[in-house]
Structures are given as structure tokens and as C-alpha cells.
């Protein structure tokens, strides 16, 4: 039994869409006209999360946030212990396939390849980068569509 990458709900073999959040479960099922799949690899766990743009995601901890829409919950990866805020950063993939990361005024800061982000300012993401949310390291990979 596996889990939905997006909402961590249980997924049954052969299912095409997550029944909790409607996310396509196979990478090639994207409903987007220009599929652009980005991959986040949570480093200590080596667990890949796939994102299909365009879209906007809040990186943080789901529990306790007042609106957890489109929240990529990092708590299963020890987010709390690693100093990730509930609403830590915002990741956006535009319809043109460009990606941006914005720190949402997190307590412990956000880094792209060792460069600390000024809060509330979107930074363009390169094709490959190491992101750091507090002390949680994430490998970012976004192939050109």
C-alpha cells in the first residue's frame, strides 16, 4: 500500500487519482496541457515528492495551519524537529514552466544553494538546487518541459 505524494492518503494499487485530493497518481496522468513535473527529494529520507505545474504550494507543516490548501506537508519528514514553520515557504510553478520560491516570514529561514532568501520576495529557482527550510534539506529538480 502506498501513499499519495500530495496528501499522504492511502492509495490502492491501480487507482488513477487520489480519492482524497484528486491528484493524478501516475506521473503521466497530468491533466495539465503542458506537463512540467518538478521533483523534491527530502534528503535525509530520500523520499521523492512530485509536483505538476502550474500551481502554487505552501511548504510547511499541515497540522495547525488554518488553511492547509495546497499545503505540502513536511511533518512526516521531521519538519518540526528541523525547524520548519507551519507556513514556511511558497513554491510556485507558472504556466510557462518557471518556478519561484518565496519565504513566508519563517522563523528559521529559507535558503536556495546557501543563499538566504529575503522574506516575502519570490526568487527564481534554477533547474537543480539544494533548498533548505530551517535545517531540512531538499533537493530540487525541475527538468525543462
Amino acid at each position: 500500500m502506498s501513499l499519495c505524494n500530495f496528501c499522504q492518503a492511502r492509495v490502492v494499487e491501480g487507482m488513477l487519482f487520489c480519492e482524497e485530493c484528486g491528484t493524478p497518481l501516475l506521473p503521466h496522468l497530468s491533466g495539465s496541457p503542458r506537463p512540467a513535473t518538478a521533483r523534491l527529494l527530502i534528503l535525509p529520507h530520500q523520499r521523492p515528492l512530485e509536483l505538476r505545474g502550474p500551481g502554487t504550494w505552501i511548504l510547511g507543516r499541515k497540522r495547525g495551519t488554518d488553511s492547509d490548501a495546497m499545503c505540502l506537508d513536511l511533518s512526516p519528514f521531521g519538519a518540526y524537529e528541523q525547524g520548519v514553520s507551519r507556513k514556511h515557504a511558497c513554491l510556485e510553478i507558472t504556466p510557462q514552466g518557471r518556478a519561484y520560491l518565496t519565504d513566508l516570514g519563517s522563523r528559521n529561514g529559507t535558503w536556495i544553494d546557501d543563499r538566504r532568501l529575503t522574506p516575502h520576495r519570490p526568487y527564481p529557482l534554477p533547474q537543480k538546487a539544494i533548498l533548505r527550510l530551517g535545517r531540512l534539506e531538499i533537493e530540487w529538480y525541475h527538468p525543462p518541459s
Binding site: 496528501c7 494499487e13 487507482m15 488513477l16 487519482f17 480519492e19 484528486g22 491533466g31 496541457p33 490548501a69
Partner: protein, 533 residues
């Protein structure tokens, strides 16, 4: 009718949207004999004749027809063509059920069997995967199936006079906008009935009253009765339905019974009503139910129509409602089979989780049943069914034909003959890794995606009703995301409005709930040229 309003020429000419030029000209000649100013001096007939000429001229000119089809699609939201694109590699036909080749699923890949003759069964099947996974439990399997029973040879001669039985809620809540809207819609529909059609009106509150007894050509009488109807008292469905079925039993021979049920409320005894309707489901009565306003019970109307093969619709947008009704009227006149039922006998460990009829109209059947009423069918139409199974007792060794279950179709032709056809659904049993590498067909993905969206809004509404705002918000946000990716802006606006509503009122708006359901339902209708423009 305003001059620049969209007119459905296909419905007007009573032909299928993929009708050939010959069929269109033939239909025109038939109708012209009825409405030509030389034979019919009625000014309304003259107006109709002008429209018929316009329709014929448009549809018989290939260039104008292409242009018109675009408009038609945008109004109807459905393709004037088959749901499976013809240019794509042909979908694998199911072991079609001809008597002489009893289920030989390997012979199927054989493309020469297509196109089938009209006298054959047409069964096309697209599965989400090429087989059932060995030892994987539980697992899901989806099937998108197009089924069309044999069309009789002289189908173009079929033209049933209708027995239109209007069952109209006149409880006190109908007062105001609801009854006005109903009057406007019927005011457009009734004048388009044939002089040979019979009409009767039953008004109901807690008791039914026969307002207009059945009369051939009684459309104007029916309309004036509805215009004068005064709302009062409460709502009870069962006595009204019983009265309607009783009247329908005594209809003139050769007329096709079409029961149109309009309500804005809930009944006291839903279970008894459903039980009674189930006991009548063998009768060839077409029961379509329409909800007005925001207080009617969608689940109840869906169950009522699912029991009888009819359709349920939200009567909100008047233009859309008139279009739907005209389309339905044309379909019923040409129906070559009635009261079709499908029975599903699963293998042990194969559980049906959903059966969705996507065409000719959308119905999500209660999955705990084994018998499904599919309703009438006209030439040119086919049932498009989406099956969702969960398999908990999968095969343990490889097999060429692992049976999933049996399908039995029973129906009455419009000539009154009864027919039955049965076949078995098979899939090969294969190792899981081999199946995981397989890409599901686009059409199946699309259909399942739309069902998933419908379920998301259901989930949101259920959560909101229980006061679980967080869950409701989650489901709506997820739906908003998928709709925005798919470019479904109109429905996206509804979802966003309801998200605000949740925020400010801690509940969904009654209009919003109906709009969410109606909007996601509409998206379940198959669209051929999705994504163009």
C-alpha cells in the same frame, strides 16, 4: 423565442447530431409535410417551418454545418459525434456478444470486425490496464465501455407520438421565482410538441390533483392550467407518482410515456417512494426529474431516475433547460428501445464501486445494486459507461481469461418485443510489474478524472454539512487546483466563491451546492474536442 437565441437544429429536425445529409433531408421532408404553410395555416407552424428551412440549409452545407457544430458544442457541451475519436487507434472491442462466437476474447483485437453492422451489438471497451494484477490485493480496475444494441432496419421510420405526463409540484414553496421559471420553460417546450402528442398535467402538494386529463393535442390547455396553478400546502411525491403511473397505464396505444417530474422540495417518505418506483421499473415509462430552486434533494431525484433509467437535471439556466428538454424529446420520439436494464453478476472478490452512465445523460448509479436501468436509446446514441471495481481476491497464477463477472442486458423494443443478451467480461491475469509499466488510455483517464472531481465536491459538501470546515476547505481547494490546471474557469469561479462563503459564513451557499454538483456533472458528459479553443 427571441430571434438571436441559439436553436438546436438537430433537436428541431429530430435527427442525431451525427446524422448524414440524407437523413437530414429526409427528416426535413417529413416535418415539412406537417408544418408547410400550405397545409398548416397556424402562425406558429409557419414560424416553425421557417426554422426548419434554416436548419436544413445550414446542416446540408458542409461548411456551414462545421461552423454550426462549433456553436452547438459550446451550447450543449457534448460532441455531435462519437465519444471515442475515430482517428485514434481503435479501442479494443469487447468480446462482442454474438451468439455464434461464444466469448472468444482473443479474437477481439481483430480490427476487421469494425465497423459493425447496425444489426450487430456494438461493444467497445477501454480498460485502465491490460489485465488484472496477480496477487495484488486490493486493486482498482476501470473500464470505459460503449454499448449499443442492434438498431432495427427501418429505424428512420420510428417516430413515436409522446404521452407527456407533467407532474408538477405546487407546494407553497414553489411560490415566486420557482414557479415562474417552470412556467417560462414549459411555455417554450409545450408549443413545440406535435399535434399528435397527448398531454396531461398532475399538480401535487400533499395530495395529487389531475389538472388536465390526457388529451391529444392538449398542449395549450396544459400550459394555461400551469399558468393558473396556485401553490399551496406541503410536498409528497408518492401519491402523485402513483396517480401518474395509473394514468400512463391507460394511455393510447403506440404512444411513448414521458413523465416529467418537477419539484423544489423534499418528500416525507423517500424510502417508500423509492421502493414503490423499484417495483415499477420494468414498465417502459421514462421518468425524468427536475429540481427547481435550492431546497430539493438531489440524491433523492438521482435515485428516482436511476431506478427508471431517466435523467435528473437542475432547472436553473432556462435556455439550457429548454435545450435539454428538446434534445430529450427528439431522442424519445426516435427511441428504438425502452426500459433497458443491465444486470451485473460479479465474480467473488470483485466489488463494483461505481457505475457511471456518461451518455446519453449523466447518472451515477448507487453501487450497491446489481440491476441498473439504462433508459431509452435512439439511433445514433450509445450508452457510455464507466465502471470502477475493487478486486480483493485477485488471480494467483497467470491466466489468459480471468473472468470479472457477467453482464446481462434486457430491454423492450419500441415494437414491444423483449430481448436479452448476456456476455462475460474477461481480463488476462498478469504480473504486477508488467501492468505498472502500462499507460492507461487517455479516454479512461479523462473519465475517471471527471468522476474524481465530482466526488471531491460531494466530499466538500458532506464535510461542510457536518461542520468539518477544514475538510470541506481542503476538498474545495484541491478541486480548485485541478479545475485551474484544466482551464475550467467557469466552474472554478463557483468553487472560489464557495471557498469565500465557507470563510465568511462557515457553510456553503445553497445555490453554490447545487452549482457545484451541476457543474461537475456537466463535465462528466464526454466531449470529443476537449481542449480546442
Amino acid at each position: 423565442m427571441s430571434d438571436n437565441a441559439f436553436v438546436d437544429y438537430y433537436a428541431l429536425l429530430e435527427v442525431a447530431p451525427d446524422a448524414s445529409r440524407e437523413e437530414i433531408e429526409k427528416a426535413f421532408r417529413r416535418l415539412a409535410r406537417q408544418y408547410h404553410p400550405d397545409v398548416n395555416p397556424d402562425p406558429e407552424a409557419q414560424a416553425k417551418f421557417r426554422l426548419l428551412v434554416q436548419a436544413k440549409n445550414t446542416l446540408t452545407d458542409p461548411r456551414r454545418r462545421t461552423l454550426y457544430d462549433k456553436t452547438w458544442r459550446s451550447h450543449r457541451g457534448v460532441p455531435p459525434s462519437r465519444p471515442f475519436p475515430q482517428t485514434k487507434p481503435s479501442p479494443r472491442p469487447e468480446p462482442a456478444p454474438p451468439a455464434e462466437t461464444p466469448s472468444a476474447p482473443d479474437a477481439v483485437a481483430n480490427k476487421e470486425t469494425l465497423p459493425l453492422r447496425q444489426t450487430d451489438w456494438l461493444v467497445e471497451a477501454l480498460y485502465s490496464r491490460p489485465g488484472v494484477a496477480m496477487d495484488a490485493s486490493p486493486q482498482r480496475l476501470y473500464l470505459l465501455q460503449r454499448v449499443r444494441p442492434p438498431i432495427p432496419k427501418h429505424h428512420d421510420r420510428i417516430h413515436h407520438p409522446l404521452f407527456v405526463c407533467l407532474v408538477v409540484d405546487r407546494s407553497s414553496s414553489m411560490r415566486g421565482e420557482n414557479i415562474q421559471r417552470l412556467r417560462r420553460v414549459l411555455g417554450k417546450l409545450l408549443p413545440l410538441l406535435d399535434p399528435k402528442d397527448a398531454v396531461t398535467v398532475i399538480a401535487f402538494s400533499d395530495t395529487p390533483e389531475l389538472l388536465v386529463p390526457p388529451r391529444i393535442g392538449g398542449a395549450s390547455e396544459a400550459l394555461s392550467a400551469i399558468m393558473q396553478m396556485q401553490p399551496r400546502a406541503a410536498t409528497e411525491f408518492l401519491p402523485a407518482l402513483q396517480r401518474a403511473y395509473q394514468i400512463i397505464q391507460e394511455r393510447p396505444r403506440g404512444t411513448l410515456p414521458w413523465l416529467l417530474f418537477f419539484t423544489d422540495g423534499v418528500t416525507y417518505d423517500p424510502d417508500k417512494t423509492l421502493e414503490w418506483l423499484a417495483s415499477q421499473s420494468h414498465l417502459p415509462v421514462v421518468l425524468d426529474a427536475f429540481g427547481l430552486g435550492t431546497q430539493w434533494d438531489e440524491a433523492m431525484l438521482e435515485k428516482m431516475t436511476a431506478l427508471t433509467g431517466g435523467m435528473m437535471a437542475y432547472l436553473q439556466d432556462e435556455r439550457e433547460a429548454v435545450q435539454v428538454l428538446l434534445q430529450r424529446m427528439s431522442q424519445l420520439r426516435r427511441a428504438y428501445l425502452l426500459a433497458a436494464q443491465m444486470e451485473w453478476t460479479p465474480r467473488e472478490g470483485v466489488e463494483l464501486r461505481a457505475l457511471l452512465r456518461m451518455s446519453p445523460s449523466v447518472t451515477l448509479y448507487p453501487a450497491d445494486q446489481t440491476r441498473f436501468a439504462l433508459g431509452p436509446l435512439a439511433p445514433g446514441d450509445a450508452w457510455l459507461l464507466l465502471w470502477e471495481w475493487e478486486i480483493s481476491l485477485p488471480p494467483t497464477k497467470p491466466a489468459k481469461n480471468w473472468p470479472l463477472g457477467k453482464v446481462t442486458f434486457r430491454y423492450t423494443t419500441s415494437q414491444g418485443e423483449e430481448a436479452q443478451h448476456q456476455w462475460e467480461l474477461f481480463r488476462p491475469a498478469l504480473p504486477l510489474d508488467q501492468l505498472q509499466a502500462h499507460l492507461p488510455p487517455r479516454e479512461v483517464v479523462d473519465a475517471v478524472q471527471r468522476l474524481t472531481w465530482f466526488r471531491l465536491q460531494e466530499k466538500a459538501r458532506r464535510a461542510a454539512q457536518k461542520g468539518d470546515l477544514k475538510k470541506a476547505r481542503q476538498s474545495l481547494h484541491a478541486l480548485a487546483h485541478h479545475l485551474s490546471v484544466a482551464g475550467e474557469r467557469k466552474l472554478l469561479e463557483v468553487v472560489q466563491r464557495e471557498l469565500n462563503e465557507l470563510h465568511s459564513h462557515r457553510s456553503l451557499s445553497p445555490e453554490g451546492e447545487k452549482a457545484l454538483s451541476h457543474g461537475t456533472r456537466r463535465l462528466m458528459l464526454p466531449v470529443l474536442h476537449r481542449g480546442e479553443g
